[in-house]
Amino acid sequence: MIRKELVAASAEPMILSLLARGESYGYAIIQEVKARSGGKLQWTDGMLYPVLHRMERRGLIKSRWAESETGRKRKYYALKKDGKTAMAKHQEQWSLVHSVLAGLKKEQYV
């Protein structure tokens, strides 16, 4: 299982990256993250919504209520221009962290 702090830190870039593929709603976002991480990245489901609301308040994403094909109301979130910029920054920073760690790991095996 991945550490709580890392899960929290990765939430925003992950949500931004998922929304970059198209608008989505809370439940679908959680299922997507679970599926992509093979269930190793576990969010407390309810905790996603405060993160989404904070991101919306900061102008990174926008939301709208719409009815799903089953007739259930859902709140759909979509990326805004500032969100795209934030996503690019996040990706750059995470790539840097990843490359440093990968380099160090490589040195251990040399």
Binding site: Y27, G46, Y49, R54, R57, K73, K75
Partner: protein, 205 residues
């Protein structure tokens, strides 16, 4: 016999009691809960087990409330809807106004009682009565500021007195001082804006 709809309604009440009052997060959480229950229906577990598991996944109400509060920032801190925010702002202003007036009159009264041969006049009795009203206003505005809106009538009453004094001032003194006009606008705004908190409307299901 387990009743899923009743259990969801009870869960919603628990969330409301824990402080997640704003309809939007609560509706989103309920929709999430229903989606999770629906997904697990094929698992072969009983409805009750599925419900319990979905509730556990959503998380504890207290923790969620803290996170939502953090997410709301200053606006969120002010209140979960427009009326709650207006009430809190008015509560703050009225607390400042009532406290200021209370201490101004109290200091005058103290000066009066300490003076040589104080004489009881109708003004003195009026000032003492007004002090009691202001003291009640301070308590009411503190309560309004922290979200208890039952004392709205008291604030409205003091605002009404303010309006009355303004009319008397115009009739007797025939002056239109700017601070009095500003205070009158504030009194009128209070009477007009103080409303009971909005009841959350659910869109979930």
């Amino acid at each position: 016999m387990f009743d899923l709809e009743q259990s969801i309604a009870d869960w919603r009440k628990q969330m409301l009691a824990a402080g997640i009052k704003s309809p939007v997060p609560l509706d989103e959480l309920e929709i999430h809960l229903r989606e999770e229950i629906e997904r697990q229906m094929k698992s072969g577990l009983s409805e009750q087990e599925i419900f319990n598991s979905a509730v556990q996944k959503i998380g504890q109400a207290g923790l969620l409330k803290t996170e939502f509060k953090k997410a709301g920032g200053f606006i969120g801190w002010l209140g979960e809807n427009k009326f709650a925010r207006i009430n809190r702002i008015l509560g703050g202003f009225w607390l400042a106004y009532c406290s200021w007036m209370f201490f101004m009159i109290a200091s005058s009264l103290l000066g009066f009682f300490l003076s040589y041969k104080p004489r009881a006049t109708p003004d003195l009795y009026l000032a003492i009565v007004y002090e009691f009203i202001l003291l009640r206003g301070i308590i009411a505005s503190i309560r309004l500021f922290i979200g208890i809106t039952r004392d709205r009538r008291i604030i409205r009453f003091i605002a009404g007195i303010g309006l009355m004094l303004f009319v008397v001032q115009i009739i007797i003194i025939r002056t239109w001082p700017l601070p009095a006009i500003a205070l009158t606008v504030f009194n009128l705004a209070t009477i007009w804006l103080l409303r009971p908190p909005q009841k959350p409307k659910s869109v979930a299901k």
